[in-house]
Symmetry: C2
Subunit: 164 residues, 2 copies
């Protein structure tokens, strides 16, 4: 279920990181490890991929990424604020130049009127700061995970200036 598009993006990320001597890390909630899986499909990724956290439970986001409990309480795990904190936490704790974070509602359960299934925040952090984007995916659980992983890799490449 990692499609060719994800691997193609991971290969572009590989070229960019190797050319520029940069390292990356991941913090995944709703994508559940898919971004790290795509990155590590590329041979030699150990040269620039530091590692990642899959933080499904809120207390794991707090204890292992350093997301403040106050943020989780005030905004919920699926929020721009938590995506930002996850990206910053992963970058600092994994010692990477750039980290990406994803938090969202993959479905089919867990949605509400305010936060429907498919709502997803993707964030990247580097030494210049953090950028967070909001998405609302229309698919099922598998499709939403894929779309979020694609968006995460694209945002990393955009931030790195890693276009073709």
């Amino acid at each position: 279920m990692t499609d060719d598009r994800l691997v193609a993006l991971a290969e572009r990320l590989s070229r960019t990181c190797l050319e520029r001597g940069l390292t990356v890390a991941t913090a995944e909630s709703c994508t559940g490890g898919l971004i790290a899986h795509a990155i590590t499909e590329v041979a030699g990724s150990s040269a620039y991929f530091r590692g990642g956290f899959v933080t499904y439970a809120d207390d794991v986001k707090r204890d292992h990424l350093g997301v403040a409990q106050e943020l989780l309480d005030a905004h919920g795990a699926v929020s721009a604020q938590v995506a930002r904190a996850m990206a910053e936490g992963a970058r600092g704790r994994l010692g990477a130049d750039l980290a990406v974070a994803v938090t969202g509602i993959a479905g089919p359960g867990g949605g509400s009127a305010e936060k429907p299934v498919g709502l997803t925040y993707v964030g990247v952090a580097d030494d210049a700061g953090v950028d967070v984007r909001r998405h609302l995916w229309p698919g099922d659980r598998t499709a939403n995970k894929q779309a979020s992983a694609v968006a995460a890799l694209e945002l990393m490449l955009e931030r790195l200036g890693g276009g073709e």
Copy 2:
């Protein structure tokens, strides 16, 4: 690239965990997040999946899973001893009833006469102790990741007594 077999195993894991009220966690090196991705393909997995670590760099294994530097120095990252320590570390740090860990050489690089490409250790830890298995996969990088993820989910099910 998550095949039907992985998802079928993840669905069996889901039924077993829900029936018995157990939680699980992952610590992945060579599988790079694929086990967590498979587990989270199942709707409702947030009820029993605490989260996971993708520890590609050795210092990430040490700092975030508590694998002793002495073990890494004495046996190397791809060893039964490190698989055991990764499983125990993930179980304790993520507060799960059962944790699985995988460390291996997915290839195509990184192999040696003593530790060839495809060599993989899979470990599970629960309150009764740790079990580690050694595998030598014959495939390419993608196939070796898949085989390791299948072996990890099968070992979790075996440990849980979660047969059909």
